[in-house]
């Protein structure tokens, strides 16, 4: 029924009364609705603009960087000495620093996070769960600079007490604390995935005589594996992009090594170091942090895509 028909019917049934203009069609109202939708759409596209901005600035500045430094040198040179009189720009030392600290962090965060997730989801009573979960959330909310301070002033001295040869700055101390910082992300996402496994699977396992532990490890964990793996992937990209802990506690000199007991610099820590100094806009040092940022971005992008593929490959639908 169109608007005009409604109007006519209204007229015929209420001959004497004047039809309220609230029932008449209003063009302005439609225009307003469309305008509002357009405004909301622009708000939503800010996120796309952000991505475009990030990619554009990284590629644009890196392009100028690679005009001066051959890409091949960047990828294969084992020295990163941008502030020397004869600068060399090989990303490998920074990359190794990033990979090593991330591996140490994951060695802590993956076992701890997984055990905590299984415990909270399958073993703990509702009361324990309600107390522990907010606490873990708080742990995840601690600023990373505070974790960095913790690594430098508490964890490093404690490690040195046990291993006197350990230097004051080390990838080990930074990585361990980074692991603690990542645990809440891994545990809360893994727990969500495990809780989403339908009760009937657990009931089936119990009916067959499984214990809690057998049910958790052989039924619930495999059923939730896609979610758990994406939690690990998220942990990895957090570790790779983590900046302040390594900037404070891992030392600031690039080091071509994978030995966690040595100090080293990560890609992110290099960006911080350069940004703290006063590099003129457009200089090659300025461009080098964008090349480093592009490498970091590609690294996290790789893990994000990997996570996406794992989710697709192992997804169990109930």
């Amino acid at each position: 029924m169109s608007g005009s028909q409604v109007m006519r019917m209204g007229m015929s049934s209420m001959q004497a009364t004047v039809v309220s203009d609230r029932l008449s069609r209003k063009v302005s109202r439609n225009i307003r609705e469309r305008a509002i939708e357009l405004v909301l759409f622009f708000a939503a596209s800010v996120s796309v603009l952000t991505t475009i901005g990030i990619i554009w600035i990284l590629v644009f500045e890196s392009y100028h960087f690679f005009e001066n430094v051959p890409l091949w040198n960047f990828l294969t040179d084992t020295m990163w000495t941008p502030l020397f009189s004869e600068p060399r720009y090989g990303i490998l030392p920074l990359l190794l620093g990033t990979v090593t600290t991330s591996l140490v962090a994951l060695a802590v965060a993956v076992p701890l996070g997984t055990i905590i997730a299984i415990y909270i989801s399958e073993f703990a009573s509702a009361r324990v769960r309600e107390t522990v979960k907010p606490f873990l959330e708080l742990l995840g909310g601690v600023p990373t600079i505070v974790y960095g301070y913790f690594a430098l002033t508490v964890v490093s001295p404690v490690l040195q007490y046990f291993f006197p040869s350990l230097p004051g700055f080390s990838m080990l101390a930074a990585g361990l604390v980074m692991g603690i910082a990542i645990v809440p992300y891994i545990s809360s996402l893994s727990e969500d995935a495990m809780r989403a496994v339908p009760m009937s699977l657990r009931e089936g396992a119990y009916a067959m005589g499984s214990t809690r532990f057998q049910t958790a490890v052989r039924v619930v964990l495999p059923a939730a594996i896609s979610g758990v793996l994406s939690a690990y992937i998220l942990g990895i990209s957090r570790a790779v992009g983590e900046t302040m802990i390594v900037a404070v506690a891992a030392g600031m000199q690039p080091n071509f090594t994978m030995d966690p007991t040595e100090p080293a610099q990560t890609i992110s820590a290099y960006i911080v170091q350069v940004a703290m100094g006063d590099l003129p806009h457009g200089s090659i040092g300025y461009q080098s942090i964008f090349a480093a940022g592009l490498s970091l971005m590609l690294l996290t992008l790789f893990f994000n895509i990997l996570g996406h593929m794992i989710r697709r490959r192992y997804r169990e639908a109930y």
């Binding site: 509002i36 405004v39 596209s45 913790f150 958790a216 992009g241 940004a275």
Partner: protein, 307 residues
């Protein structure tokens, strides 16, 4: 099955139960590691920074002499940056969330925006710093100002607010919308008068969590080149002559709490480490309070709403 077999099966189950106990112990141990880490972290900062936690510390500028140094410019800077962040990110995030949940047609553009929001949440924060350095500082010419820092952190927490908005909108049952449309409301009236008010507690939770993340962010702010030694306050936002507000502070140089702490942490002298501990304590206290409020809000929300 005869009784002997039954006894054997029970025996096997009993022996497997030992693993239950073993794992329960492992789980508690893992939790204990987390709790212990937090307690040492917090305890060390309190013990180390305790004597610096006095009113003077809050009312002094940073100084070359550790005993005179304070966090006045840092907490004022943090407050003003958070103001810019909230004012820019909250309306944008809520609007984007409303669009994606209530308006967006199912098409390629919507898919791109959705995938994009998910991926942005995984971009390292230092990359946002590079974006701000390249675009806000040099292309837009905002300089190393409070405005640049606030907008950068605003972009950083945008995904958090969008996701929180969408989730709380999704929790509102369809019949609320149908009822309102049935009374002749337009889509915007439904959104403005029903959906947004009902989802406010959920959105607030997301906003507070986002802001608590922003207040502790260090890397992107260092990247834009914020100064660490700031012994002045930005111009006051409120003036005593008409029009009583003043926006000069947006362009002012600044420092924030985490940068001040980083600066003190990287000095070798013991006295500066004490200042770092005290600043860290205040920073953790602020984020914990914000998180606690968010958790409490969510808890109340879960209890009070039944559609």
């Amino acid at each position: 099955m005869n009784t002997q077999d039954l006894a054997a099966v029970r025996g096997i189950i009993q022996s497997n139960r030992r693993w239950d106990l073993f794992f329960a112990a492992a789980g508690l141990l893992a939790l204990l590691v987390g709790v212990l880490a937090f307690v040492t972290l917090f305890g060390q900062m309190v013990m180390n920074g305790w004597e610096r936690l006095n009113p003077e510390f809050f009312m002094s500028f940073p100084s070359r002499r550790a005993a005179n140094a304070g966090i006045l410019s840092a907490w004022v800077g943090s407050l003003l940056v958070m103001l810019v962040t909230a004012v820019s990110a909250v309306p944008l995030g809520v609007a984007a969330g409303v669009y994606l949940e209530e308006y967006a047609p199912k098409n390629l553009v919507t898919d791109i925006i959705e995938i994009n929001v998910t991926n942005l949440a995984g971009v390292p924060s230092i990359v946002y710093g590079l974006l701000a350095l390249g675009v806000f500082v040099y292309v837009f010419g905002f300089g190393q100002s409070i405005l640049t820092a606030g907008l950068t952190l605003g972009l950083l927490i945008l995904p958090v607010i969008i996701v929180a908005t969408r989730e709380s909108l999704r929790a509102i049952p369809v019949h609320v919308r149908e009822g309102a449309y049935g009374c002749g409301a337009t889509q915007w009236q439904v959104v403005r008068d029903h959906l947004v008010p009902y989802s406010t507690p959920g959105i607030m939770t997301g906003v507070i969590i986002g802001l608590s993340r922003a207040i502790g962010e260090t890397a992107p702010i260092i990247t834009i080149g914020a100064l660490t030694f700031i012994a002045f306050l930005p111009p006051s936002p409120i003036t005593d002559t008409a029009p009583f507000v003043n926006f000069d502070w947006l362009w002012s140089g600044f420092t924030v709490m985490p940068i001040q702490m980083f600066n003190w942490t990287s000095r070798p002298e013991e006295a500066f480490q004490q200042n770092a501990a005290a600043a860290g304590f205040i920073l953790v206290f602020m984020t914990l309070m914000m998180n606690a409020i968010a958790i409490w809000l969510r808890y109340r929300l879960r209890k009070s709403i039944s559609w």
